[in-house]
Structure formats: C-alpha cells, structure tokens
C-alpha cells in the first residue's frame, strides 16, 4: 500500500501538477445579492466552511441616490416628494421628522387637529411598512401563506391612507406647518372598523406563524444579540427592543401629541431572530390601540395647517428632530443659512445601524439560517443608502 504522501511524490516525479489542499481552500466564497431577490438592493459576501459561515462582508451602496445633496438644491417644500423615495412604504414617517425639523427652523406651530391627523397617518403607515416586512420575512422562511395574508391585509391600511392622503404609497402628506388636507367624511368610522378587523386578524397570524413549531425551530436561539452587544453596535428600533432595551422615541422624546397617548413600549429579552420578528408584531398590536385613542381624542374641527409662505425661510440656524419609524429612530439634521434652500441636510436612519450588526450575527451561523437572521434585522437597503 502506498500512502498519500508517496502518491504525491510519485506524481511530482512524473511531472504532474498536483497541489496539496491548504486550509484556505476549505472555504467557499458566496456572493448574496445585489440582484438576489432575497437581499434587496444590497450585496454581502460570505465565506462558508462546510455549512458554517465564517466570514461576512456587507457591501451597501447599490441604491445610493444622493438624497442629502439633492436637498441642497430645492426649497423646503419641494424637498418633500423626493425625500420620501427612500422608503415609499413608510413615506409619512420619513417626512415627519423632516417637517418637525423645518418647523423648528422656520418657527411655526402646527394646529392641534393637524398634529392628530399627522400622528394617525404615521401610525397607519407604520402598519403598512411592518406588514410588508412581515410578508417578505414569511416568504423567505418558506411560509407562503404568511406572504399572502399580510400583503392582502396591507390593503386595509393602504385604503385608509388613500382616502386620507390621495395616494397609495407616496403620500407627500406631511408638510412643514401641518398636513395638506383634512380628513374626508366618515373617515373615523371607516378607520375604527378596519383597525378592529385587523386586530382580529392578528390572532390568526399568531396561530399560523408565530406559534407554529416549524417557524419557532427556525428562529429560536438563532443569531442571538445580547443587551451589551446591542448597545455597543448601536442598533435601533425593533432590533434594540428585542435585545431587552425598552427604548422608543415616541416615549423617550415625545413629539407632537405622543405625550398625551397611553401606550406601552414593547420589548423582549431573548435577542434571537424570533424576538426580532415578534417585536414588530407586538408593535402592530400596540399601534392599533394608539390609532383608536388618537381617533377618540382628536378635536372635532379646527385648522389642520398653519399658514406658510410658498417659499418659506427662517433665520440662520440648525435643527435636529427625530421620530420613531418602522425601522427605528429616524432623524433629520438641517442647517439653514437664511435662504429658502437648506445649507445641509443629514438623514440619520435606523436601517444603516441595523445593517452593521449583520457580520456580527452571521458569523458562526449555518448558511440555511442566513435568511432568518438577515430579514429579522428590519433592514431596508434603499433607506440605508439614501
């Protein structure tokens, strides 16, 4: 019997080019995205050793649109339609923070009824975003019912927003000084009816998806992010709350009328993929209560929009305001030099910070767990690239 070493020596003597396998050759490099439908417009390279991921390198920037630079060439009102493009599913929340910052710069106050309508639109939009995210999360865990149901029920909220704002996704509804129009006739009854129906549907979601043993096996104890690591990495929104930190901008820095609303910050302590996917679900439940409270407390009549010039400008200065979007804290830092156009606009988004946790969580996981970790991060590539 000849050993492997002898064979290798013999092949060398015969002039054959046989190379010994090195430690590096065990690793295989895989590229996920940017065209892969599972990653969004985002690419990350992973190296696998057998079934285990040993290296991950995120490569964002495929949908960079230069929103911040574009804002410097348009006035405060004209900025609204293009600033909502990064997240068209959550377009009310992304212009909410912008409007708050501009109002602080220009120095105007929104009428009370306007503040309530704004908060209702923002909560409805949060539901639309979370349902869309849940649909994608469902289909990438192989649960096609969970793709169909949220996509269908999303229509309940899109229908309400369509009646309120006039558009199905890109609302352009929040403007500095309030909202663009009052609620249509019979909006309150329609809203309460559809939100109550949705609350019933959430119980079915729990039965078919969250309490499903198959789903639990794929997500529990997968990609655990501890409390300390979550703080160090600076993650935001549902990812932060899933790691046991009850932090919500609506509670921590209440904007508009959120200090008058009674609600609980939803959080979980385990920090695994299941917790990260269950916290947005709890948020949806809480959002339904918030909408019902807002509709009850809303003043029956009054102004919805403060008088504002078509080309508003304020004294030189800067403002930073943030809101809780579907993906965590979303802040705008606007510097004005006294002209009608902003001197600098900086958008700070939760998506980008959640993406930075991806290499940390993926290394050491199996390849098959990649979708359950990646989508649980509540990451929207277009918003992260701006």
């Amino acid at each position: 019997m000849t050993s492997l070493e002898d064979k290798f020596e013999e092949s060398k003597r015969l002039g054959l080019q046989i190379v010994k396998e090195s430690e590096e050759d065990r690793l295989m490099t895989l590229s996920i995205g940017p065209q892969h439908p599972g990653s969004g417009h985002f690419r990350f390279t992973i190296k696998v050793d057998g079934d285990y991921i040993v290296y991950c390198d995120p490569d964002p920037g495929y949908v960079h649109r230069g929103e911040e630079k574009m804002s410097e060439y348009r006035n405060f009102i004209q900025n609204i339609p293009h600033l909502e493009r990064p997240v068209i599913h959550d377009s009310t929340n992304i212009t909410y923070a912008y409007s708050l910052a501009v109002e602080e710069l220009v120095g105007i106050e929104v009428p009370r009824r306007g503040q309530y309508i704004r908060a209702i639109a923002s909560e409805l939009n949060r539901q639309v975003y979370t349902l869309y995210w849940l649909a994608i999360y469902g289909i990438f865990l192989g649960h096609s019912t969970m793709f169909m149901w949220p996509t269908g029920d999303r229509e309940l909220f899109i229908d309400l927003l369509e009646a309120l704002t006039g558009a199905r996704v890109t609302h352009a509804f929040n403007i500095p000084g309030g909202v663009r129009n009052d609620t249509p006739d019979g909006f309150k009854d329609r809203c309460i009816r559809q939100v109550r129906y949705f609350e019933k549907r959430l119980k079915e979601y729990e039965d078919i998806f969250y309490n499903n043993p198959l789903f639990r096996q794929r997500t529990e104890q997968v990609g655990v992010l501890t409390k300390e690591d979550a703080i160090k990495l600076g993650v935001a929104g549902s990812v932060l709350r899933a790691s046991g930190i009850p932090y919500d901008i609506r509670k921590a820095e209440p904007y508009d009328i959120y200090n008058e609303i009674d609600f609980k910050v939803q959080y979980m302590k385990t920090g695994d993929s299941f917790a990260r996917s269950y916290v947005p679900f709890l948020d949806m439940k809480e959002s339904c209560h918030i909408i019902e409270q807002l509709l009850d407390k809303m003043p029956q009549s009054g102004e919805v929009r403060a008088k504002l010039q078509p080309n508003p400008k304020g004294p030189p200065g800067e403002a930073y305001r943030r809101v809780e979007s579907g993906r965590g804290a979303l802040g705008y830092h606007i510097i004005s030099d006294g002209t009608p156009k902003p001197y600098r606009v900086k958008i700070s988004v939760g998506s980008f910070r959640n993406m930075l946790a991806l290499p940390f969580l993926l290394v050491g996981q199996k390849l098959a767990d990649m979708p359950s970790v990646y989508w649980s991060l509540n990451y929207w590539p277009v918003e992260a690239d701006r």
Binding site: R74, N75, P81, D159, G166, A172, I208, P213, P310
Partner: protein, 165 residues
C-alpha cells in the same frame, strides 16, 4: 414549546380560509371607489380637500397663465411646461396654459396647492398607459376633459371576514 397542538392549530387557522370569500377583486371589471372627485385645493383657506390624486383637470375659463404651477414643479418632476393656446380668454392675456408630461409627473399635487385661481385640480383617473412617450404629454385641451371614472368596489367587513364588494 414544540407541540403537535400548535401545529394542528396552525393548519386549522389556514384551512378555515378555504371556505371564506377571497379579499381580492376582479380588475378591470371592478374598480375601487374613491372619496370625492379627486384632490382639490382651496387657496382662500389654504387647505386641500381630500381626494384621490390622479390625472389633472384644467379649467380654461379660470387659468390666467401665471405659471405658478410650472414654478412649483421645478425641482420636483419638471413635468409642467407652458404652451401657447389658440383660445382667447379675458383673464389670460398671454394665452399660455400648462401642458403636463405624465411620464415625468410624480402625482404629488403640489402644483394644485400652488394654483391661486381654482384652475388646476386632480381627478380619479389613473389609467394613463400608452404605447409611446409622446402620448403621455397631455395638452391643455386634453387636460380640460373630465374623465369618466366609475368606481364600484369598496372594502366590506362582516362577521365572516373582509371582502371587496
């Protein structure tokens, strides 16, 4: 935690939907019902009137050719251009009116907010597809036509679930 009971519950909750009427509807035989006749703006009060933001409608007897809509669209979509018209109106000495390129328009409705003469509103018409880009450019004469949109379906919720009917 992993129990057969949960699995049976999951299957049960899904199979219940085999007998419930579906939520989708048959477009284009059925169409969604909208609130009002489209988004409008009241310049006196400075507030819009809720409605769907579809294609625009231009009232020739009110347009003064002031170009405020075209200025509002600058930097957003640059879809509005002012063109010469043959008609003679007392309020429109220059005889220019907006022409809208719906290939560029983002339907934000800020041009409607800019119009101080109740001349430019939006309608419920959203079916604008055409085979060429040129057909998407609507001249003032085309914009004056009131669209015939008939929506007949809205969300109905009863004990058995939600449907479009």
């Amino acid at each position: 935690m992993t129990s057969a009971g949960d699995l049976i519950k999951a299957i049960e909750s899904g199979s219940k939907h085999l007998v419930i009427r579906r939520f989708t509807f048959r477009y284009p035989e059925q169409k969604l019902k909208f609130v009002g006749d489209g988004y409008q703006f009241d310049p006196k009060r400075g507030v819009g009137i809720a409605g769907y933001r579809g294609r625009h409608i231009l009232f020739h007897d009110k347009c003064t050719g002031c170009q405020l809509c075209a200025i509002a669209c600058e930097g957003i979509a640059e879809a509005i251009g002012m063109v010469k018209v043959d008609e003679q109106w007392k309020q429109n000495k220059k005889a220019i009116m907006p022409q809208i390129d719906f290939g560029k328009c983002v339907f934000c409705g800020l041009c409607v907010d800019a119009c101080p003469f109740y001349a430019l509103f939006m309608t419920n018409d959203y079916e604008l597809s055409s085979f060429t880009k040129e057909h998407l450019i609507y001249t003032p004469a085309q914009l004056a036509i009131k669209p015939k949109y008939q929506g007949d379906v809205e969300i109905v919720i009863d004990d058995r679930g939600a449907t479009h009917g």
